[in-house]
Symmetry: C2
Subunit: 331 residues, 2 copies
């Protein structure tokens, strides 16, 4: 077996975030569920964009945020996702490459345009996401190079990608390729609405032993297991994956590795500006720790440090020097 | 003479800022002059974009930033500028309208694309701007509606627009229309390189009594007059314009109104993150004060408050509630 060239190869939505400040009245008037994510179509996206306030465009996408964060901490990463041949596609491509991530999937010509998430951030820092997947939907199985998948020590997948049909097939195929190459597979459950639609699929992946590292937050692990409480949910999953990581917002995070539980508190944050990307950057820190062969506790702490940085400003890509930040706090 | 419908009608570049963090080494390697602005063509913009770090896209344009800031403080404003019919043009249009500014110039179909400024921000908060004007160059005289110009109590023009030929003609025509309608004309000198090219034009506008409010920073007023020092420069201009406003960064700002000088200190800023838009938002505060019939000292203070807000975060559009901020500090 050859040595992998990448610490992580990730497959995810290729999306630009459009982030606007708002107030709770707007969230209510638009009948959004604060803190949630929903899928919207092109027409709805246009109407909502007209109604929302001035924005800032910052590249996003859950798994893309994770590998951008990992690269900032010195990890070697590649990304697989689909943009359209348009200006937002150029922005996404530039930002990911400039972050140090290899990204070579050709832009798709024609409609739909590059995907975007209209993100409304309330004064408490909570984000509500309205996702128009656009070209991201159309990632073809053919875009997945077996050599690339096999070149990553870990294959990282976002649950969000399970929704559209073509990417779902691409992800199934990538999981098998990674397993055959002896690589680990990491999976993030992404959001409750995705779990509600694909619970059976996700449970099957886990039951079949195809997931080595599972990332979830409290709500997601409960949605997956349909358990009555968080502890019951953890108990239902912990023996089925070698490494289970559950983030708990301001309560910190836990990991259960071969039956042993490790907890860390949340990193203190002066002011929570925008929680977009908190989970993505937690995964970035954790997986970078894994790539560096660190202890599970250190991996958790790196996750907490990276998550704390990203919620202290707008956007889901790091602004501070994460490598220096980790070194200053962890050595 | 009818009452004006707008406090300010502004003509300026319609541009999206692409803001990336960088270090002084990069500025030196790229042979940029730190803190300056230069014009670049499409090819150069592409190459520089490839070399620079991950960015965030935030609508910009000097006069557009000013009217966006004014609208945030409750002023009624309209903007005239040229975007292309592309995604960045949609972003610019959305952000300005969502800020509460009337903007109805149709997007221009075909090449070049919407203009953008590649802005490199060093850790000290200083910005270095590389401007690809794109469609902004092509604002036609025909886009200027005499009725709109006459509908603004103040016509506000940015010196940047003097560079391309079509907008220059449009601005000359707008000045005459505004004067005939009995409106005031405000002008910002924008940048030393513009003054170096069009000194004779700008001096003629001032000597002919066509400028009622002139905005400049220390370097610009010295470049305009070619005076040996700042005081000599101020002395050379102050009797030629009814209202001269000179911003002096951390030294505050002065205004000279009919021979009388008023000074204010700079507003304290916890951390200067990105100085992009400091002058634009100073003008926004000052002109909003003028629209509200406030004293020159209050107008200067409003300028200082708005400028301090905009340099405390990335981007040249306000993030805080400027109206509330002014009310809390000034009443």
């Amino acid at each position: 077996m050859t040595e992998p060239n990448y610490d992580v190869v990730a497959i995810g939505n290729a999306i630009v975030d459009v982030i606007a400040q708002t107030d709770h009245d707007f969230i209510e008037r638009e009948q959004m569920t604060a803190g949630s994510m929903r899928l919207i179509d092109a027409d709805f996206a246009k109407g909502l964009y007209d109604r929302m306030g001035p924005g800032r465009e910052i590249s996003g996408g859950s798994a893309a945020n994770t590998v951008a964060g990992m690269a900032a901490m010195g990890a070697r990463c590649a990304f697989v996702g689909q943009v359209a041949a348009d200006q937002l596609g150029e922005v996404f491509t530039h930002d990911l490459r400039a972050a140090g991530v290899d990204f070579d999937i050709p832009a798709r010509v024609g409609e739909p345009p590059t995907g975007r998430v209209l993100i409304l951030v309330t004064p408490d820092g909570q984000r509500t996401m309205n996702t128009f997947l656009g070209a991201s939907h159309y990632l073809p199985v053919a875009a997945l190079d077996d050599g690339l998948i096999a070149a990553g020590a870990i294959l990282y997948l976002e649950g969000y990608m399970w929704d559209p049909e073509e990417p779902r097939a691409a992800m199934r195929s990538a999981i098998l390729t990674a397993r055959q190459a002896g690589r680990r597979v990491a999976f993030t459950l992404s959001a409750v609405f995705v779990i509600d639609r694909y619970r059976t699929d996700f449970q099957a992946l886990i039951d079949d032993g195809l997931i080595d590292i599972l990332f979830a937050n409290e709500e997601e692990i409960m949605a997956l297991t349909e358990a009555a409480d968080y502890e019951a949910a953890v108990a239902a999953v912990q023996d089925k994956v070698p490494l289970l990581v559950v983030t708990r917002s301001e309560k910190g995070a836990i990991a259960i590795h071969n039956g042993e539980r490790v907890s860390v508190p949340a990193e203190p944050v002066e002011k929570v500006v925008d929680t977009t990307g908190a989970g993505d950057l937690f995964a970035a820190g954790f997986l970078t720790g894994q790539a560096q062969g660190r202890s599970v506790e250190d991996c958790l702490r790196m996750g907490a440090i990276a998550a704390a940085e990203v919620i202290s400003h707008y956007g889901a890509r790091p602004e501070a020097d994460l490598k220096a930040l980790v070194a200053s706090k962890l050595g």
